[in-house]
């Protein structure tokens, strides 16, 4: 799906936990997530702490979208 979105000319960032799969599939901008069943959260934490994590990951995602890349790139949080 990331490739088809990229193909029409829209930059796309892929947020996922298993980044090697994302690389294999062909995403260009990749941001690692927390865990498979809750990529942008962590139920072990309080709701506020979870939100802080979510903000951090999405801030990285926005940075990825604003960064020129020539090749597949993983943006660490």
């Amino acid at each position: 799906m990331v490739k088809e979105i990229e193909r029409v000319g829209i930059p796309v960032v892929h947020i996922c936990t298993v980044t090697p799969i994302s690389l294999t599939v062909g995403a260009n901008r990749i941001v690692p997530a927390i865990a498979i069943p809750h990529p942008l959260g962590n139920p072990a934490l309080s709701l506020e702490e979870e939100k802080a994590i979510r903000r951090r990951i999405l801030t990285t995602a926005l940075k990825a979208l604003s960064t020129e890349v020539t090749d597949q790139t993983i943006f660490d949080n």
């Binding site: 979105i5 947020i15 294999t24 260009n28 942008l40 959260g41 709701l47 999405l58």
Partner: protein
């Protein structure tokens, strides 16, 4: 001759420990065969036997890669076996990646022959086919019998150090290694035969398949993200409560497009996941954990982004064919483009 001793790696599902709710299961070593090991033992007959089985949850393995690898390698080592088999994983993505990864690790760390099996579209196949032997299987566990029939004889050959034939003969994925052999007929005749078949519209098999490099170059970055319209897309199956379009829990045949105008937060009463390939408890309790509408609304208010696009697109990435996923995205990507969306955040579970 003594029986060849085999250790097998399987996931929590094939060990009948549980489904997604048990995907965090830590590695466990059991004596003897478990689940698919029984079919392998039957196929091995007097030649080999599964002496032990390592069971590990798919999420645990993929989320704790280094730890899982080290633990499983120690367990395999303690068995003093001659051969290591993982899976088969069919079209289960995380399981396939785990099987390929642990085979590579066991081969490198313990120097043992290894073998796994999976479906061609399993991401693990592309990732590991050049480093370990991976037998091509069908896409679901209904193909177990067929998988065992192909894997058991190849496992015996590998364990005995026998010569392994070409991928087309043995049934494993081509691994880039070429074998020289003499064809019965000369090249000119084979080429003409192939051409005649092609002209007649009959099926033919190429002797040199072109590599499939489907890569799309990255688009230029968003110039000013604070003015950009950003759309959310997910393969994590987030849908309005009740799943109004009945998106399938696995092998999805459709995607959904849902209006989030005025929606500030996804709650347990309003949204849920239709995905059948991960434990849904956390996403059902708070779907923002998969589709982060709440924080993007805050970003919108704070001026960090221009705006969140009015619709989100969603499907279930669980055994869904690459062809379907590609088709969905090709369709909605054009809608996004025409609607003036500047960038997409796509989340996957």
């Amino acid at each position: 001759m003594a029986k060849i001793k085999v250790v097998q790696y399987i996931n929590q599902f094939f060990a009948q420990i549980g489904g997604e709710e048990m995907a965090d299961y830590k590695p466990e070593l059991r004596q003897g065969p478990v689940g698919p090991g029984l079919a392998f033992n039957a196929a091995f007959g007097e030649d080999a036997e599964i002496v032990a089985t390592v069971i590990c949850g798919d999420s645990y393995y993929n989320e704790n890669l280094d730890e899982a690898k080290a633990t499983v390698v120690e367990m395999v080592k303690s068995c003093g076996a001659d051969m290591f088999i993982a899976g088969p994983a069919f079209n289960a993505g995380r399981y396939g990646v785990a099987c390929g990864s642990i085979c590579e690790e066991v081969k490198n760390k313990l120097g043992m022959p290894v073998l796994t099996g999976m479906y061609v579209e399993n991401p693990g196949a592309d990732m590991y086919k050049n480093s370990v032997y991976i037998v091509e299987t069908k896409n679901s566990a209904a193909g177990m019998r067929d998988a065992v029939k192909k894997m058991a004889p190849l496992a015996l050959k590998l364990a005995r150090g026998e010569k392994i034939g070409a991928s087309a003969e043995e049934g494993y994925f081509p691994n880039g290694i070429r074998k020289n052999f003499f064809e019965k007929e000369r090249g000119s005749k084979r080429a003409v035969d192939m051409l005649l078949k092609k002209l007649a519209g009959k099926p033919f098999t190429t002797e040199y398949p072109m590599p499939d490099f489907d890569r799309v170059a990255p688009n230029p970055a968003v110039k000013d993200i604070t003015k950009a319209t950003i759309a959310l897309v997910t393969s994590g199956g987030i849908v309005p409560k009740g799943n109004p379009d009945h998106i399938e829990a696995s092998s999805a045949s459709k995607y959904g497009k849902y209006d989030i105008e005025g929606v500030m937060d996804l709650t347990a009463d309003t949204y849920e996941t239709a995905h059948g390939g991960y434990d849904p408890v956390y996403a059902n309790a708070d779907a923002d954990r998969v589709l982060p509408v709440d924080v993007l609304r805050e970003f919108e208010k704070e001026g960090k982004i221009g705006k969140l696009f009015r619709y989100f697109y969603t499907t279930v990435g669980n055994g869904t064919s690459v062809k379907n996923a590609k088709g969905f995205a090709a369709e909605y990507a054009i809608e996004l483009k025409n609607a003036g969306v500047d960038a997409v955040i796509l989340t996957s579970t």
